[in-house]
């Protein structure tokens, strides 16, 4: 019994060690849960919105961080076509003092 295990262990060790040269492979008892990010989508395309109103400051607040900066596309998932319209609308809204240029704790 003890002999078989003894022989099996050295046999297994060179096999794994020989593969990578170093036996650095970390093994987990439970498979690591890889965070699957939710698929982003363009809400304008999905909802069929064609025009973004600069007069509706409450709506535009969603595309702006708490300092009043326009959020990037990579965070909101907006398509390029509508990101341009969003930024245009936010800028118009700022000009008319419906939204601040700079702020803190906007939300």
């Amino acid at each position: 019994m003890s002999e078989t295990t003894a022989t099996a262990a050295p046999a297994a060790a060179p096999a794994t060690g020989g593969g990578g040269g170093l036996n650095n492979e970390i093994r987990y008892l439970t498979p690591i849960s890889i965070e699957t990010t939710k698929e982003k989508y363009c809400r304008f395309k999905k909802m069929g919105i064609t025009y973004i109103d600069y007069k509706d400051a409450d709506f535009l607040l969603r595309f702006v961080n708490e300092q009043g900066k326009i959020l990037p596309r990579r965070l909101t998932g907006t398509s390029l076509k509508f990101q341009k319209k969003v930024s245009q609308a936010v800028k118009r809204s700022r000009h008319l003092a419906l939204m601040p240029y700079v702020a803190d704790m906007m939300k």
Binding site: K46, M47, T50, Y51, D53, Y54, K55, A57, R92, R94, H95, L96, A97, L98, M99, P100, Y101, V102, A103
Partner: protein
């Protein structure tokens, strides 16, 4: 050739009610004279500004939607700049999406004014939500 435009201007809050009315009518007359056709008009009244302009923290907003010759816009904007009562203005050319949006917005507003909207609006909103769910 005429285009659709939308213009918003902010009047200083120091004016009396009559003075603001007079200023608004002045620009409306200017529009009528200068080949403009007023399609819609909206007064938002006194509003707080998001940031101070000329050391004023509030302003009287007025919106006019009109049709006019593109050359007229320059004249209108110089008139805005000359007028001391106007602290901020914005004129935007409307594309077809903007026009249809403005019309829908007007219908919605008219409906809310009649008091029928509370019934009409909830009916509209769930429909949109239903469209959402199958996609998600």
């Amino acid at each position: 050739m005429t285009n659709r435009y939308e213009t918003v201007f902010i009047l200083t809050p120091v004016l009396s009610e009559d003075q603001t009315k007079e200023a608004v009518t002045k620009f409306k007359d200017l529009l009528k004279k200068g080949s403009g056709k007023i399609r819609h008009e909206e007064s938002w009244g006194m509003r707080k500004l998001a940031y101070p302009i000329q050391k004023k923290s509030s302003g009287f907003y007025h919106l006019i939607e009109f049709e006019s010759d593109p050359a007229f816009i320059d004249k209108l904007e110089t008139e805005y700049r000359r007028d001391e009562r106007i602290i901020r203005f914005l004129t935007v050319a409307m594309d077809k999406h903007h026009v249809s949006f403005a019309e829908r917005r007007r219908d919605r507003k008219a409906a809310t004014a009649d008091g029928e909207a509370p019934a009409a609006k909830p009916a509209r909103a769930p429909r949109k939500k239903k469209e959402e769910t199958p996609n998600a």
